[in-house]
Symmetry: C2
Subunit: 425 residues, 2 copies
């Protein structure tokens, strides 16, 4: 029996070899493989759902929370949605081979950049089995091989899906090895993956803050980490309060469990007395609990039907992922900017204002992947930003920032076409 190390090494070598074939493969054959995946998600639905039912039963018996169980669960409708996402990736332009920055140098050399795949992309993620399809499909379209390690609670679902992907790739005439699923439960394999710089070009951790921190601290290859969003919306003294109400409500309530949802409402004191009760009643109707600083509590405490708690120190800079919002009153834009600089995670930050200078200063000074004026932070998303799909949202500055789509899974090479040029002494 192969040891866990040999097992992983074999998969990594196979992925690397397949990545070379994939890098040279044209758009048509890659789209064919994607079409096969979408078809198979429906034609092999029974197999997928049976594997998922096993995962689900085991997770439920182990006491997994309802929200986690919901993330794990697949059904016919969800598979249809996943298949539709794969088909939408077929429609996206292939980033590989794009030429850019092309020019003729004074010495006659034609110089330019050509977009190329990164090579092998590994991802370590938790729970949701659809990530297995999303990342496989995006890697495939961008000419990269993938090594996937999902959560142990979804291992049957994800390895079934990975097998379907491999079959689909092979049916299109590409190497099945382009997608490798690490189904060996040995936890030490994650540590080993982090050291495989010779095989893995980019590692994308998706999941809890502790997972992401562990990966960043220990990986020897490039890591694009993201997915942690502590998002503030600052309602300026000059804000249109109706817009501010709708935007804050949307940012908090529309989908509270995701990284671009609002965490902290910052309100200028000039409009706090008018604004906070307005938005508070709407939020309360949607079940939002407000963790208020002293000044906002003074304003809101007398209002009926609100869910209020005094804010504690931990509420600032916290990603709630739930129907909870911290609330703070400030005396100035400067104070709001300072708070965001201190507590923001560099994901998405918004100002609601009708004041031109405040808007410009906010855009200039906030250091985050996405900086908003008068819109909901819920838009920070590959599909909303027109990338079609995303492997994740980068909160770092290197390589790619914000939603990462197909282009962000590529690098480039310089193409130098001469007619005999040499460099003068």
């Amino acid at each position: 029996m192969a040891t866990a190390t040999q097992y992983l090494q074999t998969k990594a070598q196979a992925a690397k070899a397949a990545s070379r074939v994939l890098a040279k493969s044209g758009t048509e054959v890659k789209n064919k493989a994607l079409g096969n995946i979408a078809d198979a998600l429906k034609s092999r639905e029974a197999e997928i759902l049976a594997a998922n039912a096993e995962d689900y039963a085991k997770a439920k018996a182990s006491g997994m929370s309802e929200s986690m169980l919901d993330r794990l669960m697949l059904n016919s409708q969800r598979l249809t949605g996943i298949a539709a996402d794969v088909r939408s990736i077929i429609q996206l332009p292939d980033p590989v081979g794009e030429s850019f920055d092309v020019r003729i140098l004074p010495n006659g050399i034609q110089l330019g950049k050509r977009r190329v795949p990164l090579g092998v992309i590994a991802s370590i993620y938790e729970s949701r089995p659809n990530v297995t399809i999303d990342i496989s499909a995006l890697c495939l379209k961008s000419g990269n091989a993938a090594i996937l390690r999902g959560g142990h609670e979804s291992v049957r679902s994800s390895s079934t899906l990975a097998n379907i992907v491999r079959d689909s790739i092979e049916k299109a005439g590409l190497p099945a090895d382009a997608v490798q699923y690490v189904d060996n439960p040995d936890r030490d394999l994650v540590n080993q993956m982090l050291k495989m710089r010779d095989y893995i070009d980019l590692l994308i951790p998706r999941g809890s803050e502790s997972l992401i921190k562990f990966v960043r601290d220990n990986a020897t290859m490039a890591v694009v980490a993201g997915g942690i969003g502590v998002c503030h919306t600052y309602v300026d003294a000059s804000a249109d309060l109706m817009k501010a109400k709708d935007i804050v409500f949307n940012a908090k309530v529309q989908r509270p469990t995701v990284c671009n949802a609002l965490d902290t409402i910052i309100v200028h004191n000039k409009i706090a007395k008018q604004y906070l009760p307005m938005v508070g009643v709407e939020l309360a109707k949607a079940g939002v609990e407000m963790h208020c600083d002293e000044r906002s509590m003074m304003i809101l405490a007398s209002q009926p039907d609100l869910k209020l708690k005094p804010a504690v120190a931990d509420d600032w800079g916290k990603e709630f992922l739930a129907l909870t919002a911290a609330v703070k009153v400030v005396d100035s834009l400067d104070e709001a900017l300072k708070h965001i600089e201190t507590y923001g995670s560099g994901h998405s930050e918004a100002i609601i204002t009708e004041d031109y200078s405040s808007a410009m200063r906010f855009l200039d000074e906030v250091d985050a992947a996405a900086v908003y004026v008068n819109a909901s932070t819920r838009f920070t998303d590959g599909s909303q930003f027109g990338l079609g799909a995303e492997v994740g949202i980068s909160t770092q500055k290197m390589h790619a920032r914000g939603p990462m789509g197909l282009r962000e899974l590529t690098s480039y090479k310089w193409i130098v076409m001469g007619t005999g040029q040499v460099r003068p002494g």
Copy 2:
């Protein structure tokens, strides 16, 4: 007395604070600071040369090699050259603030990216004190703060230069703390720098392969490593042999101690008998020693006046940085590609050919930062590629590949300007 850790922490905090000011500073004031640096390199020449003379004397006494001593040495002419390089950076466009990928989304949001500095860039480098000015100037222009740690043998020169930079920055009205020079000789400080992810956004190691490997293995922040170039030039069966002779000669001889110099000549057997003696005699005249595989040795052994040695296994994939070239005869383009894949370092690779299909295959299949047809690999360089200057040459695929100029020292943020948009359910 502050401990070494406190010393480094203080510098890092100061750099981070200064980086925030620099990020908001306009092109004019940054160019003013650059102009001050160029002026001071001449007006304070005596001070610089005195510090350098001390470094030089100490290095010479310790038995440093002539080539290393030459790299360490500054004189009036070299300072004039360094000042001219700084002035050329003034002429380059400021990358910060550039807007790109701007568009109006169907919901009316104006979405785009705005180029921003990375923040704090640290560099660990060896010997050459001019790197202190180069990196300071490029970081300054791109709105980044810099933390610099040069080799201990150049500490007097580099810290004098860094002081001049700091004075020049301050005179322009910007924070001197934007450039920090780590002159404390404690070697453990390098280890500590590698763990300062909260302060350092990008680390650029420049120097020996062992330094670069150590940094990549131990750094917790993003690293752009490069500077190791094992460069092949493949002379195809269809090559114009005169072009091939000039290009190979230039790539090997014009400046043999740098990373884009030729290391291995690969020759197709069909033209080897004609080509190798032609190029061999030229290379020998320039003092080049050829390390020949069996087939090239058979062809060249009878030629007079050549410097030949049988190649050993270590010659393949070796960066010679000297007047030495490995020579190999192959039977096909495939064999050449395989050799390059096995032994290349992903820096610069060239084919000399008049065959269209061979040229296209080489461009497609070689995985390197710069891939050449019919030109010398010596062109892989920021100034030759039109970037004006470079902090280094990346041989990795993430963030930037090949010569890294000002733009490669930036990131971007997404700018989202709305009029009240919320995300629909």
